[in-house]
């Protein structure tokens, strides 16, 4: 969401997938791509929340550079030549999606988010028909202690959208992250049951921004959890410094 931070912001020209484009110099590659409907997959980036750069799905190639760049965390620059859809990138994206499926237990067929899940949709668009790495079969907890919502860590991909929306938009900072590696998980307060949280306002913003079936409303059955994020651009704009 490009918002003027300085009246003297400059415009740069760059080339993405053969298209010559112009952009404000304070924009990131992913913002320019989204404006011009150039598809770039991402699970952690969400317009209205701060940058995380954790999922690595938005990696792009840049002419003259060996390493890859995360489109969400790289600002545009004059004369950049960017490729967003090479065979190498497609291979990496498939691998990332497969690793996410293998790490925890995403059983789409019995998920309340079936049909409305960003991870599931990405698997389809990235060309993942099966997972080539072994599944870990590690059991994660489900916390149903909250009256209205539920967190199923089996379906969490650690994108931290819930942590960021709770802190930055709701201002409650109920969510945070604990542990490392495969033990890493999102927590409420100091890893207390969600239902006992003294900071949670039960606003449900975390549920609506969650890309998978990890954060859902209680009482939903398979495929019934449809998320609504219309609040986010409105509130994010109001939280911008004037």
């Amino acid at each position: 969401m490009p918002v003027a931070t300085s009246p003297a912001v400059r415009v740069v020209t760059l080339n993405i997938d053969g298209q010559d484009l112009s952009a404000r110099e304070d924009e990131t590659i992913i913002e320019v791509c989204r404006e011009h409907r150039i598809p770039i997959p991402s699970l952690c980036h969400l317009d209205g929340l701060t940058l995380w750069g954790g999922c690595r799905l938005c990696l792009v190639e840049m002419a003259g550079q060996e390493r890859l760049f995360a489109a969400c965390s790289t600002r545009v620059a004059e004369g950049m030549h960017i490729l967003t859809n090479t065979e190498r990138l497609r291979r990496y994206r498939r691998t990332i999606v497969e690793l996410l499926f293998a790490e925890r237990n995403h059983v789409c067929a019995v998920c309340v988010s079936n049909g409305h899940c960003e991870l599931q949709a990405l698997a389809q668009t990235c060309g993942v028909t099966h997972v080539t790495v072994p599944y870990r079969h590690q059991r994660y907890d489900v916390d149903s202690s909250h009256e209205m919502f539920r967190v199923d860590h089996n379906r969490c991909i650690l994108c931290t959208r819930c942590v960021r929306v709770c802190d930055q938009i709701e201002g409650a900072h109920t969510w945070d992250v604990k542990g490392r590696g495969s033990d890493c998980q999102v927590i409420t307060d100091l890893a207390q049951p969600w239902g006992e949280s003294s900071t949670c306002t039960s606003c449900g913003k975390c549920v609506q921004v969650c890309p998978t079936g990890a954060l859902v409303e209680q009482g939903t059955s398979v495929g019934e959890m449809v998320k609504d994020r219309r609040f986010l651009p409105i509130l994010a704009r109001r939280r911008q410094p004037r």
């Binding site: 499926f101 789409c108 389809q124 993942v128 028909t129 099966h130 080539t132």
Partner: protein
Amino acid sequence: MSTLQQSTDATPRKLTVATAWLDGCSGCHMSFLDLDERLLALAELIDVVYSPLVDAKQLPEQVDLGILEGAVSNENDLQQARLFRQHCKVLISLGDCAVTGNVPAMRNTFPLKAVFERAYYENVTQRPGVIPTIEVPALLTYVQPLHAVVPVDIFIPGCPPRADAIYTILADLLAGKTPDPNAVTRFGA
């Protein structure tokens, strides 16, 4: 992947197809039956030589197309999977159980002992604690997707994959084209 191109004989023979369900609910086979009247046209092109849907008890020596539904959960599933791979030119993994392990694989997060306790002690009132061992295949420690035990040529995710998806992929194969399963189905579809 070997192709299913018909031989260039004057009278092309029908394609032979074998199917079986391993640890699945048979829903994928039901979805195949949902092809409805298209089954009649398909019957002109394929011969189902071995399947729960026909009488044959023995998998023929050479089959053009093998279709397996269900996850690999016990010793018999494993044997069937290997047999199909050995005798089928092209092997399709049909449905989420075969492709991902799906619901049957949800037991993998529990030790096998706990699974037995749940099924034969906690959940029964009639003769609790009697675990059948005769004439039933032993459970494997982990439920695996089909491609974890044998190489698979084509994956059709879905729970079950819709009849239209199955039809499109079979039609592509019969036409000698490489099917694109992601265009017609996905995990959990």
